[in-house]
């Protein structure tokens, strides 16, 4: 059909092309006759009878609302000439908004649809590609599918190649009595290629009877390329909200997801959210995920990071997984993401903040739960005496594997963590292997909550914590000339009481005087020396060095060690 309207209406040629061929261009507008070939889009398409690879046509559509279901034909592209103020809108009349043609060969490359908003409230897909080998491009289009009781999908592809670039696809549904087992933004059911780039997708499904998927690739020979998209999926019912469900057996080169933001929410009762479900019949599906952000909104039920069936695989590289849920299934989940909570690798400086400094402890503490404990990584504890803590309240939501560092900031008083002390609730107690742990003055301890046995355990400390088998204090000092302390531990001072007569004072007292104290000497010139220890007290030990004549003697060096409860 000849056309003279391009010049008359001042229509600009499409970018990147060589301009419209007036002989192969058809003009559509809602009204008027001057230069207009048709008042309906379908009428314009149907008027074209000789389109081919050598003679492609373009249908230029002026702004307006067109209520019709489009049955496209090969080599006939649609270009909307509207803008956001005066859009070109196509409202589905009774069935699929767009049915793409069946072309027999790849060489029969299809068509481009650009700049058109499609709206549908029909119980039918908006885009339907049932058969053939054509390639179809959607650019800068919008698809608004809002319907009740829908038992269909937004895009149904059973063949060919579909490309979406810069499009927005909104899939809203409220209630479903159609019995569909799933609702998909993209439902691909046979050998096909799907490429989606730079698009925004939203599935907002109220009360569905089946799973809500952004993509379901339900065939072994489906290739997917999904890049730089923003996807949000929400379902209010007790169903699974899923990003990708693939049954394809293709490799990671043909199932690629790069640079996407994905957010899944399932706040309804027992609603579940899963990022990937990979389950191919051939047990050799591979999905490659690179530099994506996966976030969960509110999920009432189970959050599954991924579900990978036996033999299938997901390779994640530099993704952000905004959940700490574990992957499930027997397949491969190889995750080298930098910000993966399950396999975190931190190359640089690490700072633990979240310091809590509670009020000074003035009594023994049971189920210790100072304000702010839930969000603390480090507790600075001070006390006005040496007190016991029998348990720390473990917030149920954050207890699993939690790390808590405790500093005893007092320079004199000790804090004792009591082993399995019944004064605190069982889930708040410390499991210390039968021995209490003393946090010495100025020392610290690292606890981790063992969510298997529901107890706090010590995984590290700056000191020995009062173990009975550990030396609690020692000193070496000279016994000739001016007394000089060579080295010591847990000793505050020594008193020189006379020849061969010293008192060692401990920094931290022993629990009583039932501890063991050993004294020896170093002196090569005298052999008849003995060093009895006597007068043990909790705070000190008086030691002697005597010749056989019972005369006090000062050897070159004394050594004193003490072991016992403190």
């Amino acid at each position: 059909m000849p056309n003279l309207a391009i010049g008359i209406l001042g229509v600009s040629p499409p970018p990147g092309g060589g301009g419209f061929d007036p002989d192969n261009t058809v003009i559509v507008a809602k009204g008027g006759t001057g230069g207009v070939d048709s008042n309906t889009i379908q009428g314009a398409i149907d008027s074209i009878t000789d389109a081919s690879a050598a003679k492609p046509y373009t249908v230029l559509v002026f702004p307006g609302t067109y209520i019709e279901d489009l049955m496209l034909q090969p080599f006939v592209s649609l270009y909307g000439l509207g803008d956001t103020l005066y859009p070109v809108q196509v409202v589905a009349a009774a069935g699929a908004a767009i049915t793409l043609p069946n072309v027999a060969a790849v060489a029969d490359a299809g068509l481009t649809i650009k700049g058109i908003t499609f709206i549908s409230a029909q119980d039918a897909p908006m885009v339907n590609l049932p058969a053939g080998m054509g390639s179809f491009f959607f650019r800068n289009c919008m698809f608004l599918h809002s319907v009740d009781n829908l038992a269909q999908n937004l895009v149904e592809q059973a063949a060919g190649e579909l490309f979406f670039d810069g499009c927005e696809l909104l899939y809203n549904m409220d209630g479903n009595t159609g019995g569909a087992s799933e609702h998909n933004v993209f439902s691909v059911t046979a050998e096909a290629d799907l490429s989606v780039k730079n698009c925004r997708l939203s599935a907002n499904i109220e009360d569905p009877t089946g799973t809500v998927n952004i993509i379901h690739a339900a065939n072994a020979a489906i290739s997917i390329s999904f890049d730089n998209n923003i996807c949000r999926s929400y379902t209010s019912g007790a169903r699974t909200c899923l990003f990708v469900f693939t049954e394809s057996t293709l490799s990671g080169d043909e199932q690629k997801f790069t640079g996407n933001y994905v957010e899944l929410s399932a706040p309804g009762f027992a609603g579940q959210a899963t990022t990937y479900l990979i389950d191919s019949g051939g047990n050799n599906s591979e999905v490659r995920s690179v530099h994506n952000v996966y976030e969960y909104g509110t999920v009432a039920g189970t959050e599954n990071l991924v579900i990978v069936a036996n033999g299938d695989a997901l390779y994640s590289r530099l993704d952000y997984w905004g959940t700490n849920a574990d992957p499930i299934g027997l397949g491969t989940f190889e995750n080298t993401s930098m910000w993966d909570p399950d396999n975190m690798e931190l190359a640089g400086r690490q700072n633990w903040t979240g310091v809590l400094t509670p009020a000074q402890i003035t009594a023994n503490q049971n189920n210790y739960n100072p304000t702010g404990l839930d969000n603390a990584a480090i507790m600075h504890l001070d006390s006005n005496g040496s007190y016991n803590i029998t348990g720390i309240t473990a917030p149920p939501q954050h207890a699993e594997g939690r790390i808590l560092v405790i500093y005893n900031t007092n320079q004199d008083k000790r804090i004792t963590l009591m082993d399995q002390d019944g004064a605190s609730l069982a889930a708040n107690r410390f499991a210390l292997g039968g021995k209490d742990f003393v946090i010495e003055a100025g020392q610290c301890v690292i606890l981790q909550y063992d969510d298997v046995n529901n107890n706090w355990r010590i995984i590290g400390s700056s000191h020995t914590g009062g173990g009975e088998s550990i030396i609690k204090g020692w000193i070496q000092f000279s016994g000739q000339g001016i007394v000089a302390i060579q080295d010591s531990y847990n000793v505050s001072s020594i008193a020189d009481n006379g020849a061969g007569n010293y008192t060692v004072f401990w920094d931290t007292d022993f629990a009583n005087n039932d501890y063991a104290c050993v004294t020896t000497y170093h002196d090569n010139s005298i052999l008849d020396v003995w060093t009895p220890t006597s007068l043990l007290a909790a705070a000190s030990a008086q030691v002697f060095c005597w010749r056989s004549t019972l005369v006090g003697y000062d050897p070159d060096f004394y050594s004193v060690m003490a072991i016992g409860d403190q």
Binding site: V483, S488, Y489, I494, A495, D496, G498, T503, D507, S540
Partner: protein
């Protein structure tokens, strides 16, 4: 290095030396030690002000504000005590020597040599023979 001299009621002194690796301060460490010497006067002095040899340690005496000195009377008593101890040791060795001489111990001569060597080390040994 600073130390604390404690003056006991009997005139003897105790010298408290602070342990540099203590987690307590000097004052706190001294306070702990002073519980052993209730009511006693003391001075904090530098260790260079103490007698530089401990040979007469048991003769050290002192009082607050004066410091530590070696007391002549106490030293004489200490020396007398040392002499008695040495005589006692010499008597023990002589008694042992007599017993060994009378024995048929095959190592008798070796033992006697060792006793004689120890007797020779005692400065008062000739007087007590």
């Amino acid at each position: 290095m600073k130390c604390r001299v404690v003056y006991k009621p009997d005139g003897t002194v105790a010298v408290i030396h602070y342990a540099p690796k203590s987690r307590l301060s000097y004052e706190d460490a001294m306070a702990r030690a002073m519980k052993q010497f209730p009511g006693c006067d003391f001075d904090d002095i530098d260790t260079s002000e103490l007698p530089q040899t401990r040979a007469d340690r048991n003769a050290w005496r002192g009082e607050k504000g004066v410091g530590v000195r070696v007391d002549a009377g106490a030293k004489a008593a200490q020396d007398a005590e040392k002499r008695v101890a040495q005589k006692l040791e010499a008597y023990k060795l002589r008694a042992a020597r007599t017993e060994v001489e009378a024995s048929a111990d095959p190592d008798r001569q070796t033992i006697l040599d060792k006793i004689d060597a120890q007797l020779a080390e005692l400065p008062q040994v000739d007087r007590v023979r």
